[in-house]
């Protein structure tokens, strides 16, 4: 049953819980909490309308679905790879810049973590009588 506004149905069951509306596909809401924070961050009211949050959730899932389908068609067919995503947003300046930035930061973090891990074993041998030893 496709129901978008299910306040009547769930009135009895979920009096203590906020009534959930289901998407057209019958899926439960995935991003309600995160979307509320995001909307506030981008300028909306502290408490956005639930209908607004629902609309945005549907939009975001549709967006991800579209992107995934398009990515599957280009490059290696049937697979989604980062290069495909970068290619798909090449015309959208904001999204392109953001993807590049995120991937670059991820690489830098990986390098930093690797350097840190190697530094741990490089000069400092962990002594046997330290209280970090588990074998006791």
């Amino acid at each position: 049953m496709a129901t978008e506004d299910t306040f009547d149905q769930f009135d009895e069951e979920e009096q203590q819980v906020e009534s959930q509306s289901f998407t057209k596909a019958g899926r439960k809401r995935l991003f309600s909490k995160e979307l509320r924070c995001m909307m506030y961050g981008f300028g909306d009211d502290e408490n956005p309308y639930t209908e607004s949050v629902d609309i945005l959730e549907d939009l975001v899932i549709e967006f991800i679905t579209e992107m995934t389908h398009n990515a599957m068609e280009i490059g290696r067919s049937g697979r989604v790879q980062v290069e495909d995503i970068v290619f798909l947003v090449r015309k959208d300046a904001k999204k392109y810049a953001r993807v590049k930035e995120l991937l670059m930061m991820n690489e830098e973090l990986k390098k930093a973590r690797k350097a840190f891990d190697e530094g741990k074993f490089a000069g400092n041998e962990v002594p046997n009588n330290s209280n970090t030893s588990i074998t006791k």
Partner: protein, 159 residues
């Protein structure tokens, strides 16, 4: 008359410094120089931008700080994004794909919310965003191509 490499200075101001013949090489060497200069100012620009941000954030009111923190920290859960993408593709995707997808999705939401806020302001409305603002925002953004749609195949010969 054989062609001459020298300009006819009788027509020009004699106090002008004549152009050196090696114009190509000059381009290359100043390119090296120019590029160095550009690199310096690029880093400088980045450093200046960071400093400006620091000053701005330090002057935020508590409400602004709160909102800014939400802006920076709000993310889509990686697990959910991964699940959606993997369900559609049928096979697994790399971590980078999830990172890229969540990042773009956040920008996507931001574009819609900001456009909707502009629309609401133009209608001299206030308070939380209404669905009608969001729908109008989506309509406008579809035209600019910020929202992908497989349904609208533009007919090139449509008059």
């Amino acid at each position: 008359m054989e062609s001459s490499n020298y300009k006819d200075y009788s027509q020009e101001d004699l106090f002008l410094v004549p152009e050196p013949k090696r114009s190509n090489d000059q381009h290359n060497s100043s390119d090296l120089f120019g590029k160095k200069k550009k690199d310096k100012s690029k880093k400088q620009i980045e450093a200046e931008e960071r400093e400006k941000m620091r000053v701005l954030v330090s002057n935020f009111t508590e409400e602004q700080l709160d909102r800014y923190e939400m802006f920076r920290r709000s993310v889509f859960p990686k697990a959910a994004i991964k699940r959606i993408v993997q369900t559609i593709t049928g096979n697994s995707v790399s971590q980078n794909v999830v990172i890229a997808m969540s990042g773009i999705a956040k920008v996507f939401i931001g574009e819609i919310v900001e456009e909707a806020l502009d629309i609401m302001e133009a209608q001299e409305d206030s308070g939380p965003l209404h669905p009608k603002h969001l729908r109008e925002a989506v309509r406008r953004l579809r035209k600019t191509g910020a929202i992908p749609s497989s349904k609208g195949r533009k007919l090139p010969f449509y008059i």
